[in-house]
């Protein structure tokens, strides 16, 4: 990671301290401490219902934190509404449809750029990764296939030039060759834009290929944390998923 300043090393991109969250009386995340370093990719893994998506929703302000704080580059953001968090260059790609289905592909992207010139540049750029986008700018996003919608969602997140990207199960429903391709796309874009990336994944192999570090969530707590390059990381994670 070239040209990382001393400041950036000290202040994490995103930091959760003693974070608890949940729905109503069900506490899903318990006293969670988690640090996303500047410019790194961290993969959150774990079985269903262990709080991965809940964590992203809490960071983004869609769910109130019951206890603890979330800091974005040192500033406390817990308690802020989602739109104010988004305005600080945090992009969130949720699992469920987050596109505007009745807007066309171009308009869905237009929402995150300043003007037409920026849009043209951006479309040309993401078109290199996802060729269907420039071809189908006038098609309604709702009529894209499930996989294409996922790709468009990711393209929109990239175009918004985020500082921190939160991505929930982007590989779901994508054909294997596109998944392989995404590893490269995310790496290249991260080098270009310098964002820090927190991904939630079910596809362990993809997660380890993209991420510098991984964390396994179990019952809302971190059960394992390590570097993706560690020998035996995959086996350990799969064991966690089984138990």
């Amino acid at each position: 990671m070239p040209s990382v300043t001393l400041m950036a090393e000290v202040i994490p991109a995103l930091e959760c301290r003693g974070l608890s969250s949940g729905y109503g009386e069900a506490v899903v995340i318990r006293h969670l401490d988690l640090v996303l370093r500047q410019g790194e990719t961290l993969a959150l893994l774990g079985k269903n219902g262990m709080g991965k998506s809940t964590l992203l929703k809490t960071v983004m302000g869609y769910l109130p934190a019951l206890a603890g704080t979330v800091r974005l580059e040192g500033r406390t953001i817990s308690g802020l509404p989602p739109q104010r968090i988004a305005r600080q260059a945090v992009s969130y790609t949720p699992q469920d449809q987050a596109l505007f289905p009745d807007l066309n592909v171009g308009d869905n992207l237009r929402l995150v750029v300043d003007d037409e010139r920026a849009l043209r540049t951006a479309v040309a750029h993401v078109g290199g990764y996802f060729p269907f986008i420039p071809d189908r700018l006038t098609q309604k996003a709702g009529t894209l296939s499930g996989g294409e919608q996922k790709m468009l969602l990711l393209a929109r997140a990239l175009i918004s030039a985020p500082r921190v990207m939160l991505v929930d199960e982007i590989t779901e429903g994508l054909q294997p060759s596109v998944v392989t391709r995404l590893v490269e796309v995310l790496r290249v874009e991260q080098r270009r834009l310098g964002f820090s990336l927190l991904i939630v994944e079910q596809n362990v192999r993809f997660a380890l290929a993209v991420a510098d570090r991984y964390a396994v969530l179990k019952q809302g707590e971190i059960a394992d944390l390590g570097a993706s390059a560690d020998a035996g990381a995959e086996t350990r994670i799969i064991d966690h998923l089984r138990l």
Partner: protein, 624 residues
């Protein structure tokens, strides 16, 4: 009156806290909260006229009748999501039936009965017509609000243009009507309201009542569970129209005045406001809200004639801003907190579990033995405007086959699934399910032919519990009770296995919106299996599940095709998964059927290798 209000504040808490039979000592209140509440309320309305001053009694009779109409608005809007401004028209139909009959024919018992029957028949017919107009296939939900808004306007215009027959703008008055004491009117209207509320209360808490909420939450999923939602909504509109008409009949008989305002859309809108203020989706909220507002306005309109409307308007804005769910839910929450402090946290920990009973699936004899293919597609095409996503797709699939459909993103796999499960989807070609051409039929008709469809993005009922979602899926086989809840839930073994393997069973009392993404997928899969389909359409059923869970589901699906002779169509990207469980594979590429063969033939083919190898140019080709 005070008894009535107390009952209103406490009953919802009693309703939700009521423990299952046998778990707690059975006091009457705990076992039959509705019966007890109804008896108390009936007692109150019978005693009240002896204690309350005459003016209030006089006003309250009217309030009770309005409240009965508000109750129907709550059923339609609060529970089923049909925002209606037209209940005043039905009230007017009842009122004018009596007014016209008594004015033009005179008061005899036969005329009174015939007028009531006429009111019921006309209200039912108008409701059926309104429903038929408003609930067509693919009609936007806002449309029903527009139709119901027009309805009272049309009704008022009819009254205006009726000349001396309808009394035009001055209405009808001074006709002979029933001779009853004020107290008896009060008791009659009060008991009617209490009984209507109790019936509605039982109904919305019954298994059938859950269907209303399911329609509000996710009508598409309802139709794909084989529920005829349009018919259900029309039936509800008819029932609500009849209740409103009877209330209107009572109003005309009591006041001896029938005016065009009774049918008007101002009254229709006021009903919506009263329901919103009281707390929609609570039944008691709208009832109590309507009574209190009408009574207060009767007093205040005398002392503050002009400013009263302004006060009511301000109160409405304040409540909507501060308490978007209305007054009752806030009072009830306060009551629960108070009760909770006294009784500990018993209510919170009581699990809402329903015993699950495995039920044998119907013998697949007819599906397996006959030579008719379970599914036959001929020349199916699908266009979205100028974009053609499916070109001339033809294939057949038989019982006992597990046919996987693979292809790059955007190849038309999900569109193909849609075309099989909904007759309106395809642009051309034919689809036969077990020999039945689906024609242009709705999804619920395709379900009746044996189709079960799981969507790509999990589609469940957010505010219903897991057990309730599964019960809805069983309603095709086990018609729900209109007034109570079944104690057990019977599920086919396959659905039970999915629920067990994915850990869904531990969440059976939880609302579906609190489930993780993977568990929602599992729930939807279990729901579709509970339908006992002969042709099962699965669009990426294991997306969002971990690998061990996928393997379990694969095993279950294999067993289903092998043992119960189901025909399964599976859209899937995980080639390993496809290889393990499929008996045949079809490749879709750019909307065309590119390959159809055994697993070995297809998986080894060049085309599939190009699509799945990860070579980047394949992506470009795929979207060419």
């Amino acid at each position: 009156m005070t008894d009535h209000a107390d009952h209103a504040a406490e009953s919802p808490a009693a309703g939700t806290v009521a423990p299952p039979r046998g778990l707690a000592p059975g006091t009457l209140a705990a076992r039959h909260p509705v019966a007890l509440g109804t008896l108390l309320a009936l007692g109150a309305v019978n005693v009240a006229p002896l204690v309350i001053d005459t003016y209030s009694v006089n006003v309250l009779v009217r309030s009770f009748l309005y409240a009965a109409v508000a109750l129907t608005v709550d059923l339609l809007w609060g529970y089923t999501g049909i925002l209606t401004f037209g209940q005043s028209a039905f009230f007017g139909i009842g009122a004018y039936a009596l007014g016209l009959a008594f004015t033009h024919i005179g008061l005899t018992p036969a005329v009174a009965v015939l007028a009531l029957a006429g009111a019921v028949v006309v209200a039912a017919a108008v409701a059926a017509l309104t429903g038929w107009l408003a609930f067509g296939y693919g009609v936007s939900p806002i449309y029903v609000s527009v139709v119901t808004l027009v309805l009272p306007i049309v009704a008022t215009q009819l009254v205006f243009s009726g000349g001396t027959f309808t009394g035009s703008s001055s209405g009808l008055s001074g006709f002979d009507t029933f001779e009853l004491d004020l107290e008896d009117w009060f008791r009659l209207a009060g008991c009617g309201l209490v009984l209507a509320t109790a019936a509605a209360w039982l109904f919305v808490r019954s298994d059938a009542g859950r269907v209303l909420v399911a329609i509000r939450e996710n009508e598409q999923r309802c139709t794909y569970l084989g529920l005829r939602t349009a018919r259900i909504k029309i039936a509800l509109m008819i029932a609500c129209g009849i209740v409103a008409a009877i209330a209107g009949y009572g109003y005309a008989a009591y006041t001896d005045v029938v005016a065009p305002e009774l049918t008007g859309f101002v009254f229709g809108t006021e009903l919506v406001i009263w329901v919103a203020l009281g707390g929609r989706g609570t039944l008691l909220g709208p009832v109590v809200g309507t009574i209190l507002i009408d009574l207060t306005s009767a007093y205040l309109s005398g002392s503050l004639p002009f400013i009263w409307q302004l006060l009511l308007g301000v109160a409405f804005v304040l409540v909507i801003v501060a308490l978007p769910r209305g007054l009752l839910p806030v009072l009830a929450a306060g009551g629960r907190r108070f009760a909770g402090a006294a009784a500990g946290t018993r209510a919170a920990v009581l699990p809402n579990l329903v015993p699950l009973v495995p039920t044998p699936t119907a013998a697949p004899a007819d599906a397996g033995a006959s030579a008719t293919p379970a599914l036959r597609l001929r020349g199916v095409t699908r266009r979205y405007g100028s974009l053609q996503v499916l070109h001339d797709i033809s294939f057949t699939a038989h019982a006992g086959e597990l046919l996987s459909i693979v292809g790059p993103n955007g190849a038309g796999k999900s569109s193909l699934m849609r075309c099989i499960a909904d007759g309106h989807e395809r642009t051309g070609g034919t689809v036969d399910i077990a020999g039945h051409p689906i024609g242009r039929r709705n999804p619920e008709a395709c379900v009746a032919f044996g189709v079960g469809r799981k969507f790509q993005a999990a589609s469940v009922f957010d505010t219903l519990t897991v057990a309730e979602c599964l019960r809805l899926a069983r309603m095709r086989h086990e018609p729900p009770s209109l007034w109570r809840r079944a104690k057990t839930l019977r599920l086919p073994v396959s659905a039970l296995q999915v629920a067990q393997a994915t850990g869904l069973l531990e969440h059976s009392g939880e609302e579906a919106r609190h489930l993780s993404h993977g568990l929602k997928q599992a729930l939807e899969l279990a729901m579709v299996l509970a339908l006992e389909p002969t042709v099962l359409l699965l669009d990426e059923p294991t997306a969002g599940l971990t690998r061990p869970e996928r393997q379990t589901i694969g095993t279950i699906l294999s067993a289903l095709t092998r043992d119960s002779g189901m025909c399964v169509l599976l859209v899937e990207h995980d080639l390993d998964f496809v290889r393990e469980i499929s008996s045949r594979v079809v490749v879709l590429h750019q909307g065309k059927l590119a390959l159809d063969g055994t697993v070995a033939e297809v998986v080894g083919s060049d085309l599939v290798r190009t699509i799945y190898s990860g070579e980047t140019h394949a992506l470009g080709d795929a979207h060419g």
